[in-house]
């Protein structure tokens, strides 16, 4: 790990805070200074509120002085994707539609972070309404990959991944509908965790596809992911899809669970389209597990090839319904030259939404429309069942599944922008996890010859986050990819 404060993990910083070697104000100032120094290049943030962050840091230091510190996250700056509500802060979804929206309340995860003493720090860029894999669909700017500024950071949570990779936040929150946490984590050399559907409340998360969306953490270590996940997980009466389940102490479980594990390798994830350098790095990680005494088994997920098709029916159908609320009436952009109320809907939406959002609303409306519902939406829901059964069948033989996170390292800005289908296919390895509702994570597992990060995806059984984190931790203990920080 680098000696700079802003590159240290929560596990180390919480010790420094506890022993008063560093104050939260010192740490927050270091993160602010780092952000000011590098964000003109990285562009991870849509906005940040320096005074508000320092006020939170002073409150944390006062708690600690009064011996009322609330745990390892107390005083730690946590970056937040600009699609998660923080009371009094902008909430834009990187869309013109919400460019001037200020949230009047906290998301449940925000409330939980505040209860844990964390400093809510900044609004992180994304593809508009979380629709995309590169942040190029942001209405404001494209975030750069800290390891190569000509390349994308991945998406949709590209700002959340890039901020952690560049030391502009210690950890951050993103959301994952088809890979939006794991893919950018892989492309930016950080840990990204998507929980089981229902583990983390979606209350206060701007809805994209409600049956797939989950909030999760980005961090520079597995242990930090365990700490942050523990802070945000749990049943919430305000989200009727949130699950009543015990939340273990994920951090303590990391060292209690020692394996050896039975790990599945699905052949469908190692075929055509997989970059050879990514394949080599992932195979090396698999052989590390073998050396640890794990049993490596070939498994089959036969419906994998249908994942992207199912996803782009279900996700667009749900988004066309969720985004109907943006009508220019109660909040959001309102057109100035509408001639009547109906015209106001048409024009406000035309002016407020960007190209990808419009494209998905059209596709989603089409697959739900009279005469096409059965052929597209209903069929997709049935194939979704088969994809889910594939995973559950595999879990009869294995504890977790290992795959590449993304078929390639970070691609160049503009490379796929004109071809939506090519962009959609970059999520081919992450989408199945959302359709099946499973926990999945990406951890760094190497670099390409040209210095681009590569991610290993670990897919777990429903609500077995503790086991999945322990498996990831076992790999991370013997590797130090996080120490290779970007040159900025």
């Amino acid at each position: 790990m680098s000696s700079e404060l802003f590159y240290k993990p929560v596990t180390e910083l919480s010790g420094l805070l506890e022993t008063k070697k560093v104050s939260s104000v010192d740490l927050t100032q270091a993160v602010i200074a780092r952000t000011k120094a590098v964000d003109t290049k990285v562009k991870a943030f849509n906005s940040f509120d320096e005074a508000d962050a320092l006020a939170q840091a002073r409150a944390s230091d006062e708690r600690r002085a009064a011996r009322q510190a609330r745990g390892p996250l107390d005083g730690i700056p946590v970056g937040i994707k600009d699609v998660i509500a923080v009371n009094g802060q902008p909430l834009t979804a990187s869309s013109k539609m919400l460019a001037n929206f200020v949230s009047p309340y906290d998301a449940t995860v925000t409330k939980k972070l505040k209860n844990a003493g964390a400093i809510c720090w900044g609004r992180l860029n994304l593809d508009e309404f979380a629709m995309g894999s590169s942040t190029e669909n942001s209405a404001f700017h494209t975030t750069s990959n800290p390891y190569d500024l000509e390349r994308v950071p991945g998406g949709s949570s590209g700002g959340s991944a890039a901020a952690v990779a560049a030391g502009e936040a210690i950890v951050s929150l993103g959301s994952d509908t088809g890979g939006s946490i794991r893919q950018p984590a892989a492309l930016c050399n950080v840990v990204g965790f998507k929980p089981t559907y229902g583990l983390v409340s979606r209350y206060g998360l701007i809805a994209f596809a409600s049956s797939l969306d989950q909030i999760g953490p980005f961090s520079r270590s597995v242990e930090d992911a365990a700490i942050t996940l523990g802070a945000i997980a749990g049943h919430d009466p305000l989200d009727s899809t949130s699950f009543k389940t015990d939340i273990p102490n994920y951090r303590a479980e990391l060292t209690k669970r020692k394996g050896p594990w039975r790990l599945g390798i699905p052949k469908e994830y190692f075929g055509q389209g997989l970059d050879p350098e990514v394949a080599a790095a992932v195979e090396k990680a698999i052989s590390h597990y073998e050396k640890l005494g794990c049993e490596i088994k070939n498994v089959s997920l036969p419906h994998t090839e249908y994942g992207v098709g199912v996803y782009y029916i279900i996700a667009t159908a749900e988004c066309s319904s969720n985004l109907a609320r943006y009508d220019g009436i109660r909040y959001g952009h309102r057109s100035k030259d509408a001639k009547d109320i109906v015209d106001l809907y048409f024009k406000s939406r035309a002016e407020g939404f960007g190209q990808e959002v419009k494209r998905r609303i059209i596709l989603g409306t089409y697959v739900l429309s009279s005469g096409y519902y059965d052929a597209y939406y209903l069929r997709a829901q049935k194939v979704r069942t088969l994809i889910r059964q594939d995973f559950l069948n595999a879990y009869k033989e294995v504890d977790a599944i290992l795959t590449p996170t993304s078929p390639t390292p970070a691609f160049k800005k503009g490379e796929k922008a004109a071809n939506p289908l090519a962009m959609y296919l970059s999520d081919i390895y992450t989408i199945g996890v959302n359709l099946a509702g499973l926990p999945g994570m990406s951890i760094p597992c190497g670099f390409s010859k040209s210095g681009l990060p590569i991610g290993l995806q670990l897919i777990g059984q429903p609500f077995q986050e503790a086991e999945l984190l322990a498996i990831a931790h076992a790999y991370e203990k013997a590797h130090d990819w996080a120490s290779k920080t970007p040159n900025l």
């Binding site: 098709g309 009547d340 829901q381 979704r384 069942t385 509702g437």
Partner: protein, 96 residues
């Protein structure tokens, strides 16, 4: 590649209350034609007897106690309204 599809952009855009420019219509027709052609592969799957999945872990009968709870104050709820007057959202005339 533009696939055979009966996607009627004008009709669908009307359903979605979305005004599209002629350029957008032409572009989306081609791009979504490609996506729909790709999606055609789902027709190969035998789904007879398969139940649809709407949620991976469905939760049924979620009840809340019937107790009134404070909502957002009016000022907070209206803070983001594009136009407001007398604690109400102002909209174009709806009834002549």
């Amino acid at each position: 590649m533009s696939a055979p599809t009966d996607l009627n952009i004008d009709h669908v855009a009307h359903l979605a209350r979305l005004a599209l420019t002629p350029e957008e219509k032409a572009k989306f027709a081609t791009q979504l034609g490609d996506v729909l052609a790709y999606i055609e592969q789902l027709k190969k799957v035998d789904v007879s007897g398969v139940e649809p999945t709407a949620h991976a872990f469905p939760v049924y009968n979620v009840w809340a106690d019937d107790v009134a709870q404070a909502g957002l104050p009016v000022e907070a709820a209206l803070k983001n309204a594009p136009a407001q007057r007398n604690n109400m959202v102002v909209v174009p005339k709806v009834v002549e």
